[in-house]
Symmetry: C2
Subunit: 430 residues, 2 copies
């Protein structure tokens, strides 16, 4: 039988008892930030719960942590405490849920890798042979990671010179989104001590949605030969034009972290890997998660947004546990809060490509959008990500407005079905 | 006349009154870390000075900061305080001097860029045209940055498959050092607000020596196409061998940060740039610093170390202020403690190349070393960096022992000449 909370949760809510994602919020603009758990239309203030002594078990009694089951009756039957600790979600401000030490972005969708390879290197050598042997990745920038709702500023930078002119300089003309998710590292590992792939899941706290904004033109010129992305696609002999390279001009993540435990009911087999991975990447159980992903764009001044792609987390070739194990095999240390992006998650069909670069084939064709068209993002566009499982919604989505010098807002959206039960190791408020 | 401290400073000391670099140390193994300033054979404990009320000016009175001139008579004439606040350097443990948010590594030595280009792409297109338009860089990993003296562990990883075999897996066979320096960011900038190149110096607290350990073989296979380094050197048509790519398997920095003020007397003209940089990179005064750099290797069991290269900070084509301004031109935010590496600093002569990759031309020739030879680093090798100006020494050097699973020690070394005066905006203890 489905778990049910004493808190009323509407059927369209992203946050039934089965989800209970973690985030950081401010109940009032002047309040100090604090951890919370989303439930229905409320945020449960864990700092209030803690101060009230409801964490009385062996782990959290006297601790400022919040990883334990509070006695729900004490909350349910105490109207004062309920009022104090359950803050209407519509009133809170969500903050970046983690202090991100290092951010790594992988490149684990074969369809994305293949599309980029075909675009910039031709179909014969679309995917480099190393891609099938290890989860390719690059280091990203932590400081510019922001929470959904933060203004996004169209970056300025250099673009390709034409002829003998100096390089173009100005606002990016090829601003793109990238549909990704990212794993949040829980317990880290020591420098020099790799994590076994079969224990890698224990180092992941949960997942977030991520939009890895990219300025294709700036990076096409700027980031050769140092990456971080598609640098190798420059494969045309004697040709000094450069491929688009990915660039982190700012990366947006969702405010709520959904735990791997909450996702467990949606685990599915990862794709069969050929060739077999080396032993340090071979998992006893290799799993993905069935999470439908969707991107919508709402042009400025239009009422409705328009779905531009539908993909799924289960299109990833390399699993997040393989990514994490590979990341540490050289001894690299991960720290709590580190972020491991999946890379753009594209599916096999053109309707499932995870970025405009692929959807418009680097601007060679236009995308139809409620009577208008797009090759890349335009000022005022709102980009909306959402993710949900087959039967239950997981994610608040990201809604960003792209303007000349930026502006973006977070919204809520539902893609919910209430009848599913998730086992949570974390907090129950049923 | 030269400034002179009431503290006895030997002529071979790295730390005369003119230097006074900042660091973080523990006077005893169980003490909490605290900031200090090196002077002669002592570390001045700034926390003790602060607690004793010697910071009594408008900025630091009642503050826990330490950026102001204490009254030196009060320290000089108070034997108790002297004993408490001046800790013999031989007894302290030096720690990483900064909490590093993000780490970026540039690629600003033309000789290094050209050598790598010739090696992997041939002499015709040795340097990509974008290199002369902007300071190329990539994001690095912060978590694995350690202070001089920390064990260095030879990383394991995949290497190129031969024929139809699976990739090699094991300890790196091409472990290398990279001779670099790095700027430590002082005041940061807001996301979306670029720093003017002529004000970029105000955002730099000082410089450190940096060894950007690199496993050439692992990365040659692993980091295509995502960089972070030399990915673009793969320029041979239809050829699927990969170039060595740089990899941060751990980066070592010196424990003392020397301020730009201390370096000011050693400022020199930066190289003339052709083509002229775009306006956002054009500096009113474009300067480098004359800092001699040296790398020694001491093989295990040998008494003496052997100089393997002599270079100079002034070989950099792009200045640290141009690097910083470029880094922010897209709106990227820098935060206090961020580290901006220069990239390998190679000079024009083969004796001045900044890494074994160049010195041995990717292992094609051997380097003579006190009767033995090296192509890449071997277990037990100690790698020693030092940096000094023409007339005064600046840096404690790095001494690392490379072993199978690591071990390294910090030492002191002098390359000192006492007769130079440096104007310091910071603390005087004369």
């Amino acid at each position: 039988m489905a778990l049910k909370s004493f808190i009323e949760v509407g059927p369209d809510s992203h946050f039934p008892i089965q989800n209970l994602p973690f985030g950081i919020f401010k109940p009032e603009p002047t309040s100090p930030p604090r951890p919370g758990v989303a439930i229905g239309d409320y945020v449960l203030d864990l700092s209030t719960i803690s101060v009230s002594g409801l964490f009385e078990g062996p782990f959290l009694s006297g601790s400022d942590c919040f990883l334990q089951v509070p006695d729900e009756a004490k909350l349910r039957d105490n109207p004062n405490l309920r009022e104090k600790s359950l803050v209407p979600m519509s009133k809170v401000e969500m903050l970046l849920p983690i202090a991100i030490g290092d951010y790594t972005d992988f490149f684990s969708s074969m369809h994305h890798a293949r599309n980029c390879g075909i675009m910039f290197r031709g179909p014969e050598n679309a995917i480099n042979p190393n891609w099938f042997q290890l989860p390719i990745a690059y280091h990203g920038r932590s400081s510019s990671i922001v929470v959904s709702g933060t203004d996004i500023i169209r970056p300025r930078g250099q673009g390709h010179p034409s002829g003998n002119s100096p390089p173009y300089f100005g606002p990016s003309r090829k601003l793109d989104f990238e549909l990704e998710m990212a794993a949040v590292v829980g317990p880290g590992n020591e420098l020099g001590k790799p994590v076994d792939v079969n224990e890698a899941g224990d180092h992941i706290f949960g997942l977030v949605l991520m939009n890895d904004w990219s300025a294709r033109d700036i990076q096409a010129w700027e980031y050769v030969p140092l990456g971080p992305f598609l640098g190798k696609s420059f494969g045309k002999a004697g040709n000094l034009t450069f491929p688009p390279l990915e660039f982190i001009l700012g990366t947006t993540i969702s405010p709520w972290i959904v735990t791997l435990d909450a996702l467990e009911p949606f685990a599915c087999d990862a794709p069969k890997q050929d060739p077999q991975p080396l032993p340090y990447l071979a998992e006893k159980i290799s799993k993905n998660y069935d999470i439908s992903l969707e991107v919508q764009i709402k042009p400025a001044g239009q009422e409705d947004s328009c779905v531009v792609t539908r993909s799924n987390f289960n299109h990833l070739y390399w699993t997040v546990t393989q990514q994490l194990a590979h990341h540490t095999i050289n001894g690299c240390n991960l720290r709590p809060g580190d972020l491991l992006g999946t890379g753009t998650i594209s599916g096999p069909e053109p309707e499932s490509y995870g970025c405009l670069l692929e959807l418009t084939w680097n601007g060679q064709k236009s995308l139809s959008l409620n009577g208008t068209t797009r090759k890349f993002l335009e000022d005022g566009d709102e980009v909306v990500f959402s993710g949900c499982s087959k039967v239950i919604s997981f994610y608040t989505f990201l809604k960003e407005t792209v303007t000349k010098w930026g502006l973006a807002h977070a919204l809520e959206k539902s893609c919910h079905h209430p009848e599913h039960q998730i086992a949570l190791r974390g907090i129950y408020v049923s």
